[in-house]
């Protein structure tokens, strides 16, 4: 594999093959999730919370590759996400934030080519992932970068040990690039919130930011990450960031900032959750037995949501009625598949029948009799 110096040179070289953003507001914050946990609409909340304090956070995101929805797919339900670098500069200098698709920009264009070639040769996938992510942060001029590493069964990083080792690499690489990097190891063992798929996730994020209330996992993760950024950016005292983030969310200031972002990117800032069209072909799976939800399979949930049409069909996805640890009775709804066409709905149902996306267990796990 590559050593850290080589990764740093590769990162800078990748960035310098393309355009660089030069924003006249400092410091520049950034946040990035390495991904893998379904329903992770978190940054739709984090960016407005951080920008509401006056910090600058020009967030570029990707679309889904293997997942059911990338942040760019979710934001696109609320506002256009394809903008030029000049347009981004104008927006961010005006309101301190954006939520755009990075793929439309000429940021580190060598990245995709290099990745394709070297992935085919199986050369140092970790070094390449680090360079790929950080080259784009470098091109955006980000000075303070928070990397979210979801950890748990069925995500990219399955153990805390692995997450810690990856965290160290990000921090080391950041030092060589002149960036101050922190990392948050977050719980990724089940989807975030109750929705998976672009429109369903946009609706859940919008409801949460409008009311200041939402699923525990979403609010806790968003305010936890935003809180770290507020401390990194020097607007919250050490240990007080999360509390401040929560106050900003509950006060409606984060919602005001999101409305500015939507408006500047060309969307309707007064969009309401009920305005968002959700796939109206639906099927609900119910519990076959009473018991406790002991597992929600991230990979199965993503597969079923994709079979239903996500991310291309924005209204396709999954609404979870339960989360891990909850008690259910036989016949209780577990999850609803939403699709825009009957054909995709049927596909998703076939996948859902074959997989066991939600596991229910009673106290008796197994009966073994006459063998």
């Amino acid at each position: 594999g590559l050593d850290m110096d080589e990764i740093a040179w590769l990162t800078m070289a990748m960035a310098e093959t393309g355009d660089m953003l030069d924003i006249d507001r400092k410091p520049i914050m950034d946040v990035h999730s390495i991904g893998g946990v379904p329903g992770n609409k978190t940054n739709v909340l984090v960016v407005p919370i951080v920008a509401a304090t006056g910090l600058t956070i020009p967030k570029t995101s990707s679309r889904a590759i293997t997942s059911a929805a990338g942040t760019a797919d979710v934001v696109e339900v609320l506002a256009p996400v394809t903008h030029s670098l000049d347009e981004i500069k104008r927006i961010v200098e005006k309101i301190g934030a954006c939520l755009v698709w990075g793929g439309a920009l000429n940021l580190a264009p060598a990245d995709d080519l290099t990745i394709k070639a070297e992935r085919a040769l199986s050369i140092d996938p970790r070094g390449l992932m680090l360079a790929s992510i950080m080259s784009k942060k470098y091109a955006m001029g980000s000075q303070y970068v928070l990397i979210d590493i979801p950890t748990g069964e069925g995500v990219k990083v399955e153990t805390i040990e692995e997450a810690r080792s990856l965290a160290k690499d990000f921090i080391e690489l950041g030092k060589r690039l002149g960036q101050y990097v922190e990392t948050a190891i977050t719980y990724g063992g089940q989807p975030i919130g109750h929705t998976v798929g672009p429109a369903l996730e946009a609706k859940e994020a919008l409801e949460t930011i409008m009311t200041g209330k939402g699923p525990g996992s979403l609010v806790e993760k968003a305010t936890g990450l935003a809180g770290i950024l507020l401390e990194m950016g020097g607007v919250a005292p050490a240990g007080m960031g999360k509390k401040m983030a929560k106050e900003i969310l509950e006060s409606g200031k984060a919602y005001e900032k999101l409305k500015e972002i939507i408006a500047e990117q060309g969307g309707d800032p007064n969009i309401k959750p009920d305005d968002i069209p959700i796939g109206d072909k639906t099927y609900t799976f119910v519990a076959q037995t009473s018991g406790y939800v002991t597992k929600i399979d991230n990979k199965a949930i993503a597969t079923i949501a994709r079979a239903a049409g996500a991310p291309e069909d924005k209204g396709a996805g999954i609404l979870l009625h339960v989360k891990v640890g909850e008690k259910v009775k036989e016949g209780d709804p577990l999850f609803t598949i939403h699709a825009e066409s009957e054909v995709r709905l049927d596909q998703a149902i076939i996948h859902a029948r074959r997989m066991e996306p939600i596991r229910i267990e009673g106290m008796v796990l197994q009966r073994i009799g006459n063998i």
Copy 2:
């Protein structure tokens, strides 16, 4: 180690060194938990449910050795548990059930001696455990035996694979002894119900059997095990046992049978939960942070309850205010230690401060910054 034939001969030889019970009611059912999960007052419910159908279940139990309360310690809060074999024969032939202390009887007396000697020599602990448990069932004349194998972190059997292997051994040994054995692998990753300690557990069991309602883990486990016994004993059709067990619990018939058992063993059948004295020296630990309960440490809970005085001080123990998966806010009560003396309470508090019996985690599991 010993092979299965040797274990079978050892089991029968152990039984024949002592007295044998000859009850004139057939078939004779039995249930035994291999133990290790705190708060397991389950059989105080299972035995009355099974006997309420007319089946015969002369249950002998042990007192706590390393745990905070054995079934005999819990039952003793409600009624005397020390009876002669003749007295047990009379009770069981009259009402079909008992809940007594096995240690008062001359059942397989070679067992304790053999175990002591061979344990010191580290000879085949699994073979000895099998022989020890089954020799007592053999001496009681049990024909249909259900073995409960709690499985999970911090109990004797930590994995399902291990549980399955042990289950096979019990079933094989049963065949050689002329007994029909089934096993239930049950979830043992956290305490059963909300209480640990003789009086607290007796109170919870009595409340649950009187009202037909109680903590999910207790009701599910008790009706799950009782249901298997009802099917084994031929009073419930295959697959219908648990439903029948639940109906018997909810109808009050199990409570009527428990009252008969209490009366025949010399206790007050009209005892109410509020009549049971609980240690009045208490201390409540609260959550230091908001988040989700991700773990309750079985071993720590047992250690703290024993430090508080259980099982000798019957009123000592732990009341859990939360279970795994629940959401808590900073300052919410997590568990209350009950003791009968300030000295034991202080001891328990010291242990509880040092251990982390209940783990709370937010969505951000760890923040890694400048290293």
